[in-house]
Symmetry: C3
Subunit: 318 residues, 3 copies
């Protein structure tokens, strides 16, 4: 694997999932693979789970890890070609990225969307510019529109827990929230489940919350949540802000919160969420504290997802 | 040892002190004990000495260390059971802690009191919640009401320096300061000296600065500083804000500053302070720069205190 | 080498340059030299390249590295002897530094000038106080008036790229900028090139931008940039604020920006800059994106400069 920015970088999803589950059984089986290699974790936006799980994964492979948190405001990067830099930006990505490329063997980056300018966000200017100028493999730790390490983790968690002899039915459902959130996790989950093609996949949300068609293509869209949940094996709960009229909260109907009562509509569905979760807003306490919740398992699996990805990149480089 | 949140977690203080002094002689004697184990240092409040000494201690035992500074405001945790999280809190400790429990073998936490609500602070809500939900041993790097690593260090420093064939007389004295400070260091020192039971112990402070009886029980309280200092072998200097009318500065009489003149009342007493210290407010230059000061030695001993504690926890887990 | 705060700490510049270039050929040749040694990187001001390159250098020598970013405002240090600390400063350097001296074998510090009080800045109060009280070797990661790791890197880069059988002509030229910047990089480059004594050295800047004579002594000062550039082999581009009427921007004539056209005056000169650079303000895109630019190479060489310095200090201590 040359880089890991979207599912399109992955030649074989099932092989990557299997690799991750093998690491879960034996975390240190490739502890010498990354010895003498250095990985940089550049956070233009804050992170907890992603930072920790990626750092652990890299160390399990024997890599040297350097984390650097850079306040987006403090280190205002310029991305425009030909800019006269007499304003607020202090360094051009064309100058910054090649140096990180000299210091590291792999560069991981987290960068959030502005939620103000859809065209800029969906062009993935920040991560694509680093990928273009760093000269080394770039791994997304969540970007403006996608969160592939989370999605890989989610597929791993589904593979690990589904034992029936049929295709699982997976429902991605919008949930209420108090703030306008990026579409990344939902976009990315949709993109991965569609590419994986191992499930019946339904996306449900209120009207006005359509996601970008490039990611949802292949899924059934259903505006009636109850109907969508019927017979579900997995429910992925996530809020996102509007895509069409970009970055807004339209309705925020509390009736979309997932509750134990709604679970009755499903086939003993397991409930997933990328965390952090607003309890009793997105998901009820009874679900999060009950046996159907997979959220802690998902967070734990983040380590094995990251380890499988870094391992593939190390093997490709060597 | 299962956890390290207060002196009550320590089965044998003298054995722990001896262990620390053994590490001081030979820092790397157990350098393989923690190999393959990972420790997380979670700072909800800033730290210098505690962070560095704990990190060094963990590395001396061969552990992998991950430090994460989390701005309490940026990562506003919810602690209330059943909360509807539609306000400012972004994640419930019930969801956050178990994930840290998956990522680490030991979790160290620093969290300061609000100094606004005594009941909340003295319930130790933050560290006790992490201890309840993380599922791994929790070590306090200073909490709302206690600072056990500092107190262990202080006992170590006294043991290391006292050579007379008698019980030392130890005086904990309040000192002036410019800001209202937590009671942690004073509470914890009192709790440890009382539990240790190896000294005659006097606490002196102006009226209105009473500490909580649960920690001072066993010590003599004396409002006259001069009288308290008579014949002292060790003087522990520390400011704290009021406990009864919580978190205030009542009087701030500069006459309570420890000076060379007051040292004349003692039995060549050694002077202790946890640092940072306000020079010529809490303690005079002449003492800090003179032979009776133990403050640099105490700070150095923080490493061995942390190393002994982590070692005991690692042994208990294995 | 006992410390590394200015060129005066270096007994033999050419030997140090050679050592750095040897590490560039074989980064891990001394990977056991620093095993069991601990280095602290204390950032009182932010850093990207310096932090990463120093951290990598120390790891290449087998050292344990601990980075601690301390907000200068959050950790307001007192430097005045005899101060009554009832104001904003929270800790005296006399108390802070010796503890770092107990925790580490080498202490690296970055601290910027105020640009308000020239006398204070040019006394190098902060780094000199740490050097005085820490009791261990101190390495500058850029101080109030100098940036020796950058200057060593610059000499390395010149040595590495100059193949002619003559003394190179080196021009340090002032460039426009949008903010008042320290004089450190310019002071330090001048100090090193003069001490190195391996080049013809000209400094060019508008009137009113004179640097301190203690650093420029030995160089030719030329106010006409075009004339200075004639026949140059290397052009070092850097902005600085005024020294005489301290910390100001006087004129900011865009005519001083280095362009391809001005390069025609030189002897195919290579262009250097310490980064970050304001494109099309200090230096034109065409130069930065063209073959004469050495800026990425310089940034890469920061690793070998730091590694040579740390190596010399480790050897001196052992």
């Amino acid at each position: 694997m040359k880089q890991f920015i979207s599912v399109q970088d992955v030649p074989d999803i099932n092989a990557l999932v299997k690799k991750a589950l093998d690491y879960k059984q034996d975390p240190l089986k490739d502890q010498l693979l990354g010895v003498g290699k250095r990985i940089g974790l550049l956070f233009l936006n804050p992170s907890l789970r992603t930072r920790l799980s990626t750092q652990i994964a890299a160390r399990n492979l024997g890599m040297e890890v350097i984390v650097f948190n850079v306040d987006k405001d403090g280190w205002a990067l310029e991305f425009e070609e030909g800019a006269i830099m007499s304003g607020n930006t202090v360094e051009h990505v064309k100058d910054a990225a090649p140096i990180l490329g000299q210091y590291f063997d792999i560069l991981c980056i987290r960068t959030f969307p502005s939620l103000k300018n859809r065209e800029d966000d969906y062009s993935e200017l920040v991560i694509q510019s680093f990928a273009a100028y760093a000269g080394i493999p770039v791994v997304s730790l969540e970007s403006a529109t996608l969160h592939p390490l989370q999605s890989l983790t989610d597929i791993i968690t589904i593979q690990e827990t589904f034992k029936d002899n049929k295709r699982p039915k997976i429902v991605l459902t919008w949930a209420p929230h108090v703030k306008p959130l990026p579409q990344c996790v939902a976009n990315s989950f949709a993109q991965w489940v569609n590419a994986w093609n191992g499930a019946d996949f339904i996306i449900t949300h209120p009207a006005d919350y359509e996601l970008a068609g490039e990611f949802t293509k292949g899924a059934t869209i259903e505006y009636n949540q109850d109907k969508a949940l019927e017979g579900a094996d997995y429910i992925y709960v996530k809020n996102w802000s509007t895509y069409t009229d970009y970055g807004k909260i339209y309705s925020n109907d509390p009736g979309w919160m997932l509750t134990e009562e709604k679970l009755q509509l499903t086939r003993f569905a397991r409930v997933m969420h990328c965390l952090p979760v607003r309890r009793n807003v997105e998901l009820s306490d009874e679900i999060l504290d009950g046996p159907s919740s997979l959220v802690t398992r998902e967070a734990g699996n983040r380590v094995w997802a990251a380890q499988a990805v870094l391992s593939e990149i190390l093997i490709d480089k060597s």
